[in-house]
């Protein structure tokens, strides 16, 4: 038997085939391609020229002013001056946190890293299923331990001296706000979600009112409430610092969103689970605690990660109430006399940090969703 195998035309395979299929399939496709290429060229050229080719990387004082005057003498605009970022890198990261106490932050990071590696190892093998409980307990314990480590005991303490929460700033504060916001809001959100599905009208109405009110107003108004109204509505002996008040605001705000996430998880549990739990004689509390909630919480983990990412970005709003988180520090840096007029560099750097963190987290959550088979249900 002879097979007459004609080779496919070159325009259908290989690089040319790919180009034709993806870039030049019709005449307007070709137009779009050319237009896009022009756009990419224009943007990349501008960015690379400004950020790298004509940029100043020297960290010597006055380097930026010098670069600018050189450029002005030559009759052109100056490129980026990255020394504002390079000299302030510590400020961006920890802000006003005392520099001699930085080991505490490293210590906290080590605790988190060790726990993360342990989690990964334990969850990977079925053999270590018994150890999972200990890892969860470790995570729960890590919160108070890290809080004490970062804050210290009292001013006179020899071991860990007090670092008031109002000194926490920079990326550190951004993460503290986001993590405390999500962790503290979860139990509240859980209660609110259960309240919203409760058979008791008083609880239901209260939960619905709370959730819908908070979701209907911007975060900034809730932060405003925590800053100005808490001191008014609490007795004078219960006053606390701005950072703590911001944390209260974040938590109250985030709880409404956690509640809606949990409600989604509860709605996804088949009715048969409730009926089966009732049939084996569990009462309402045990049914929720042993049967329904464990399944519901597992289902909402991806949604909670998503909420954490948006909370992480939303922490930037504390700038408006005067806190120095990453964006607040950036704003303060643009006011330094040595680096007048370098807003572009500073805000781009801050945005880059936000981008890296939240992109990494959303990539992680996509992997998590695949691992948990979210799409396949």
């Amino acid at each position: 038997m002879t097979t007459i195998a004609e080779k496919p035309p070159v325009t259908e395979i290989g690089v040319l085939g790919w180009l034709k299929k993806n870039l030049f399939s019709t005449w307007y496709d070709a137009l779009l391609t050319v237009g896009s290429l022009a756009l990419i060229y224009w943007v990349l050229r501008g960015v690379i020229d400004w950020a790298i080719v004509r940029a100043t990387f020297s960290t010597e004082p006055g380097a930026c002013k010098e670069a600018r005057s050189v450029a002005a003498a030559a009759g052109e605009t100056a490129g980026a001056c990255w020394s504002v970022v390079l000299t302030n890198i510590k400020v961006f990261m920890i802000g006003r946190y005392p520099i001699e106490e930085v080991w505490r932050i490293w210590g906290s990071l080590v605790i988190i890293a060790v726990l993360a590696v342990l989690t990964w190892l334990v969850w990977r093998s079925e053999a270590m299923i018994g150890a999972r409980r200990w890892v969860v307990i470790g995570w729960l314990l890590s919160l108070p331990v890290i809080t004490i480590l970062l804050r210290g005991f009292s001013e006179k303490s020899q071991v860990l001296s007090l670092v008031a929460t109002d000194l926490w700033s920079g990326v550190l504060l951004t993460f503290v706000l986001a993590i405390v916001g999500i962790v503290a809001s979860f139990p509240l959100g859980l209660l609110l979600a259960l309240g919203r599905r409760s058979k008791l009208p008083a609880l239901r109405v209260f939960s619905i009112l709370y959730i819908e009110t908070i979701r209907g107003v911007p975060l900034i108004s809730v932060l405003f409430m925590s800053q100005l109204l808490l001191p008014i509505f609490l007795p004078p002996q219960m006053r606390f610092g701005t950072v703590l008040r911001a944390l209260v605001g974040m938590t109250l705000f985030s709880a409404a969103y956690s509640a809606e996430n949990v409600r989604g998880g509860l709605a996804a549990i088949p009715l048969g689970q409730y009926e089966a739990a009732k049939a084996v004689g569990l009462n309402d509390v045990l049914m929720m605690a042993l049967i329904i909630l464990p399944q519901a919480i597992q289902k909402v983990i991806p949604a909670i990660v998503g909420q954490f990412i948006s909370l992480f970005k939303d922490t930037s709003l504390v700038v408006i109430i005067g806190l120095l988180d990453l964006l607040g520090v950036a704003k303060a840096v643009t006011g330094q006399t040595d680096f007048i007029g370098l807003q572009k560099e500073v805000y781009l750097f801050a945005a880059l940090i936000y981008f890296i963190c939240s992109y990494a987290m959303s990539y992680g959550s996509r992997r998590l969703e695949v691992a948990m088979g979210v799409g396949e249900r």
Binding site: L203, V217, I220, K313, I320, L327, F355
Partner: protein, 403 residues
């Protein structure tokens, strides 16, 4: 069911279920306890507030709204320092609505284009769209606004240096400078009074034709005349009016640079430009994802079946894919509009005088923390509620269309 409930009531009747195990009584007690706790906390909080007021010799009242504000607001409807606090609040509300309405229109367009671009078969176009979406969605809006305002808009060239116009000039003329954006704008002239009845007639004619067309469509299964005729009629009536009425009812007012300022046309402040642009770009990325999800939600078989029946590609998009995609798109789209409106409160970060920023000034000036806070909440909640109301109406209509 009947059996068990009658057994239950029988048991009750015999007193076999003591009241402390009767589920109905337990529920009532639980609710009562909850209400009492909530009320107690509320009373405690209000008591603290009363003490706070007493220390300062204040009372809770909204009477301060009638007082002279004695600060200036240079954005939106005219305001002078002798106007009242109430008017200041109104200025803020109007400014928020201005940003929200312009923003919603523009962001819908941007989101639609990007969402469709993201699904384009063209590799470059879909990747440019996804880079834009990822960059925007993974950075905070406030950081974007700071960048836009402090690093871009305030760094634009000045309007005029010496005798030369240094602003970025686009045909129109549109002047873009660190003083904001000046562009041509239609102004009503004197003859507009005799022209506007034509507009109403045009609207009536178009609606009547539309109803006739729909009627024909229901009876014969196809429209008796094309949609183009409706549009033509709608445009023709005002055009006739334009010829009949003496003079031009609308005149294009063109900005002119006079001294150090632009006059005429419409002038948008740099804060307004930065806030609107920032909100449009930010929300657009989210709308793009909504649009993409909506289009992907229409099963492939729908388009294939239509193609098999001989529909053209435009007909498939217009009659098969879009109506079904819209059903998925509209609810999340409206909640994005709501997000845009709420996010406009970030205006205070870049000194745009929206509802929140004006309230903040009012509060610093008058010291009426709780009153102003209640006003802010009421304003945002009524906006949210009206948007959710629209959403519910739309949802119901969509459901009727469905089967």
């Amino acid at each position: 069911m009947t059996h068990s409930s009658s057994a239950y009531s029988a048991a009750r009747h015999h007193g076999a279920v003591p009241f402390w195990r009767d589920i109905r009584i337990l529920r009532a007690i639980a609710q009562l306890v909850f209400v009492i706790v909530v009320l107690a906390v509320g009373v405690w909080l209000l008591g603290n507030y009363r003490n706070w007021l007493a220390e300062r010799n204040l009372t809770f009242s909204f009477r301060f709204l009638r007082l002279e504000a004695s600060f200036d607001l240079a954005e939106g409807i005219p305001f002078k320092p002798t106007d009242s606090y109430a008017r200041a609040f109104l200025v803020g509300v109007v400014n928020t609505l201005r940003v929200a309405s312009v923003g919603i229109v523009l962001t819908t367009l941007l989101g639609l284009v990007t969402g469709v671009g993201r699904l384009s078969r063209n590799w470059l176009v879909s990747h440019i769209a996804s880079v834009y979406i990822e960059l925007i969605r993974n950075t905070p809006l406030l950081a974007q606004l700071f960048f836009l305002y402090f690093a871009v808009i305030l760094k634009l060239p000045t309007l005029k240096m010496g005798d030369q116009i240094t602003a970025i000039t686009l045909p129109g003329p549109i002047y873009l400078s660190n003083r904001g954006l000046a562009m041509p704008w239609p102004r009503l002239s004197e003859s507009f009074g005799s022209w506007w009845p034509f507009l109403i007639v045009a609207l009536v004619v178009a609606v009547v034709l539309w109803i006739l067309r729909a009627h024909g469509m229901q009876r014969a299964g196809r429209p008796s005349f094309s949609f183009v005729w409706v549009a033509l009629a709608f445009l023709a009536v005002p055009a006739i009016g334009w010829l009949v009425v003496p003079g031009n009812p609308l005149a294009l007012d063109v900005p002119v640079v006079k001294g150090l300022k632009a006059k005429g046309g419409t002038i948008l402040s740099p804060e307004f430009v930065a806030l609107t642009l920032g909100l449009v770009v930010y929300t657009g990325a989210f709308i793009a994802e909504v649009v993409r999800a909506g289009i992907l939600a229409v099963p492939k078989g729908q388009a294939e079946a239509a193609r098999a029946q001989g529909f053209t590609e435009t007909q498939i998009l217009r009659l098969i894919v879009l109506p079904q995609a819209l059903r998925v798109i509209i609810p999340p789209l409206i909640s994005q509009y709501l997000n845009l409106t709420k996010n406009s409160s970030l205006a205070i970060g870049i000194a745009f005088l929206d509802l929140y920023a004006v309230s903040n000034t009012m509060l610093n000036q008058s010291g009426r923390v709780v009153e102003v806070f209640l006003m802010i909440m009421a304003a945002y909640l009524s906006m949210s509620l009206s948007i959710s109301l629209i959403m519910n109406v739309v949802n119901r209509r969509i459901q009727i269309v469905e089967r």
